[in-house]
Each structure stands twice: as C-alpha cells, then as structure tokens.
C-alpha cells in the first residue's frame, strides 16, 4: 500500500458528516411521514419506502467504501466480495418477497376480520 502513511482524517470526518445527514433525513421523514410520499404507491410500495431503501444503500456504500476501505482494495478482490453479496441478496430477496405476496393472496382471504 503506497499510501499507507498519509492521513485520511479529513475524509473520515467528511464521510461521517454525510452519514449523519442521511440518518437525520431518514429520522425526520420517519417521524413526519409526508402524506404525499407515504400514502401513494410507486413500483409496489410507497415512494417514502423507496427513499428509505435508497438512502440505506447510500449509507452502506459510504461505510463499505470509506470506512472499510474497499476503495483501496484490488478491483477483482473487491468484486469477489461485492458482486457475490449483491447478486445473492437480490436473488434471495426477490424470491422471498414474491412468495410472501403469494402467501398473502392465498391465505389473506381466509382470515375473517
């Protein structure tokens, strides 16, 4: 690692600042739940939920790339970790959520309210 001895302190605080701002925005939206975002539907769930998911992925990127120093690893080492995780998790989540929706469609009508 050629850059091993230079200090990254400034960058670390920058990333912390960004992660904090994202968290504050999430908490703010989570408490106030603007009706226009919360009660409408977009691609299967509310726009608010999509905002939460995108902000979460942004935070995950910040933590992995800056704090865990993924940006400094060799390209194919990085890909062996990130691509594997992203592919398998997307696959699993897709199957399980489809199955969950199917279970609701078939079992939901049998529940009496």
């Amino acid at each position: 690692m050629a850059h091993a001895h230079e200090s990254n302190v400034k960058r670390i605080w920058n990333v912390f600042f960004i992660l904090s701002v994202i968290t504050i925005v999430e908490v703010f939206l989570g408490i106030y739940k603007p009706a226009g975002l919360h009660l409408t539907n977009f691609l299967g769930t509310s726009p608010l939920n999509w905002i939460f998911i995108i902000l979460t992925l942004a935070k995950a990127y910040g933590i992995t790339w800056a704090f865990m120093h993924m940006e400094g690893e060799k390209k194919w080492f990085r890909r062996s970790i990130v691509w594997t995780a992203v592919f398998l998790i997307c696959y699993l989540v897709t199957l399980l959520l489809l199955e969950g929706g199917y279970l609701f469609d078939t079992l939901g009508p049998l529940v009496q309210w």
Binding site: V27, G30, I31, T56, G101
Partner: protein, 326 residues
C-alpha cells in the same frame, strides 16, 4: 501467481499465510472479508425472512411507530428518537474505529489506544441501549386482549391508545391472586395472574362509552389501524380469552406474535455480534497498550478487527431501515 505449485509451509509464518498476498491483501484481511461476506448473507437471510412474513401479514403487521415509542427517563410518545440515538452511537463508534486504524498506519500508539477506548465505550452504550429496548418491549406499554381467534385488541380513547389502568374499574370478580411461596404451597409455582381479568375489562368497556377498540387490521388508504365502532368492538371483545401485557415468544400485545419473534431474533443476533465485537476490541486494546503491534511493526490487526466492527455498523443500518422505518 504460483498456481498449482505447493508453497513450502514449514516456515514459522504459516498462520499469516506465509507472506503470500493474493490480490495484495494479507491472508488475515482476506479471510476477514470472506467471513463478513458469509455473515452478510446470514443476516440478509433473516431480513428477507422478515420481509416474507411481513408480506404474508401485510394487512395486519404492527406499525413500528406505535411499538417503539419510548425514550428513557421521559414519559410520552416519542417514536424513532431513541433508536436514532442508537444509530448515531454506532456510526460514531465506527468513526473512532477508522480513526484508530488511520493512527495505526502512522504508528501512533497513543492515538490508537484512545480511539479504541472510545470505540469500546460506544459499543457498550449501544448494547446497553439494546438491552433497555428489549426490556421495554418485553414489559409492554398499554396491554391488550387476545381473542379466541388469535387477534389482539387494543384500547383507545379520543384517538389515543390507553392502558387497562386508565379505564378498568371494579375487581377481578374471580378472586384469583398470583400464587406466592408465603401464602400457599412453597414447593409449587403457578402462573402470574394479571391485575385485571377479561370479564372485568369487558364490564368496564360496557360502562365507559368513550373507550373504543383498535383492531390489528390496517386501513390501507390511511395506513393506520382500524378503530372499531362500540358495537363491533364489544362483539370482538366478547371473544377475549387472555390479558396480554408486553411481548414474548407466545403472545405480543402489539400484534402478530411473529413480529416479536423476529424482533428478538434479529436484534438479538445483531446485539450478540456487537457484544463479541466489544470483546475482540478489548483484547486488541490491551495488545495495543502492551505494545504487541508496535513490536510487530504493523497495526494491521486493528484494521482487521476494525473491518468486523464496521460490518456490525453496516448490518445495523439495514436493521434500522427494515425494522423501524419501512
């Protein structure tokens, strides 16, 4: 690369991979990354199972804002604030950890020591908060009635949820008290008897017209739980079989029992990761003080442990989103 060629492993360095560095990463760091990958898949399995179950009960799933409403030392409804605090504590302890790694690169022993110390403190605050959160969840806030068809009925007055103590009057009517060693057979034990009986709650409901029943069903238009009319409420209430106060693996006053099961399992598994992370941090902390890494000429061990600690933070970011926000 020396593919298919056996590397002599009788040297003393076999534990660290004998100095072979594929992809420019040391053996230990690479294995830590692969462990993190497998652990990430475990956690995503849990969260995806949570998603499946939530989709299965999409019309009656508990609303997180109505479940996690407490802040220590303060009374009232404050959804999100405490868990947001916990998130900040964990992110900040991640920052001190990465600062420790950075100081390690520059071989500044003192700085590494103090940053690691701050990381351990942050971790302890987080696990403590987690324990408090569990305790609050297990003890419950208002109490509810479980019906013979496994539904949870909560009580509201003027649009706000109320507890039994706020409207239940009279006495239990069945003379039951919790068995204690000093007033019965000391060698047998019985179930804890709730302060109120189901019949007493039904009578009090009939007597107080301002009380309404909140069902588990979600009004999809408003994304709020349906509040039943007085007549519908009584009809449901007459099916009541059990007083539920708090949540455990059998009953949950907030709604679906499996919500409580997932809460205990996922936050518990994450909390256990934090706990073991703190232990490893403490070991590393003492090694730093003793000068182990100073002598070794490299603080890479702090970096490897730091990867694990950041991963714990990374998982919490997802747990926070899918348990408390979405």
């Amino acid at each position: 690369m020396e593919a298919n060629i056996a590397i002599p492993s009788d040297s003393k360095e076999t534990w660290s991979g004998g100095g072979v560095r594929p992809f420019g990463a040391s053996y230990g760091k690479m294995m830590m990354w692969f462990f993190i990958l497998s652990d990430a898949l475990t956690f995503s399995g849990f969260l995806a199972a949570y998603g499946l179950t939530r989709f299965k009960f999409i019309d009656s799933w508990p609303i997180a804002d109505e479940v996690f409403t407490h802040v220590p030392f303060i009374h009232g409804d404050y959804p999100m604030y405490y868990v947001a605090f916990m998130t900040f504590v964990l992110i900040f302890s991640s920052v001190t950890m990465v600062l420790a790694v950075d100081a390690g690169h520059q071989m500044k022993k003192n700085k590494v020591t103090w940053y690691l110390f701050a990381t351990i403190i942050g971790g302890l605050i987080f696990v403590g908060s987690q324990a408090w959160e569990w305790n609050t969840f297990i003890n419950g806030s208002y109490g509810a009635i479980k019906t013979s068809d496994d539904k949870i009925l909560q009580f509201v007055k003027d649009g706000h949820q109320v507890g039994f103590a706020d409207f239940v009057v009279g006495d239990r009517g069945d003379e039951r008290v919790t068995h204690t060693k000093k007033n019965g057979l000391w060698f047998v034990s019985g179930q804890t008897v709730a302060d109120y009986s189901v019949n007493q709650v039904i009578e009090s409901y009939k007597a107080d017209p301002s009380i309404q029943i909140k069902s588990e069903l979600i009004d999809t238009g408003k994304k709020q739980k349906v509040v039943l009319s007085r007549e519908e409420g009584l009809e449901q209430l007459l099916k009541g079989t059990q007083i539920v106060e708090g949540a455990n693996l059998q009953v949950n006053e907030y709604g679906n029992t499996i919500f409580a099961n997932f809460f205990f399992f996922i936050t518990g598994f994450h909390g256990f990761h934090v706990f073991s992370g703190i232990l490893i941090n403490i070991i590393i902390f003492f090694n730093v003080i003793l000068g182990t890494y100073e002598k070794r000429g490299s603080y890479e061990m702090v970096e490897k442990v730091g990867l694990y600690w950041h991963f714990v933070d990374l998982v919490w970011v997802f747990v926070f989103t899918f348990f408390y926000l979405v």
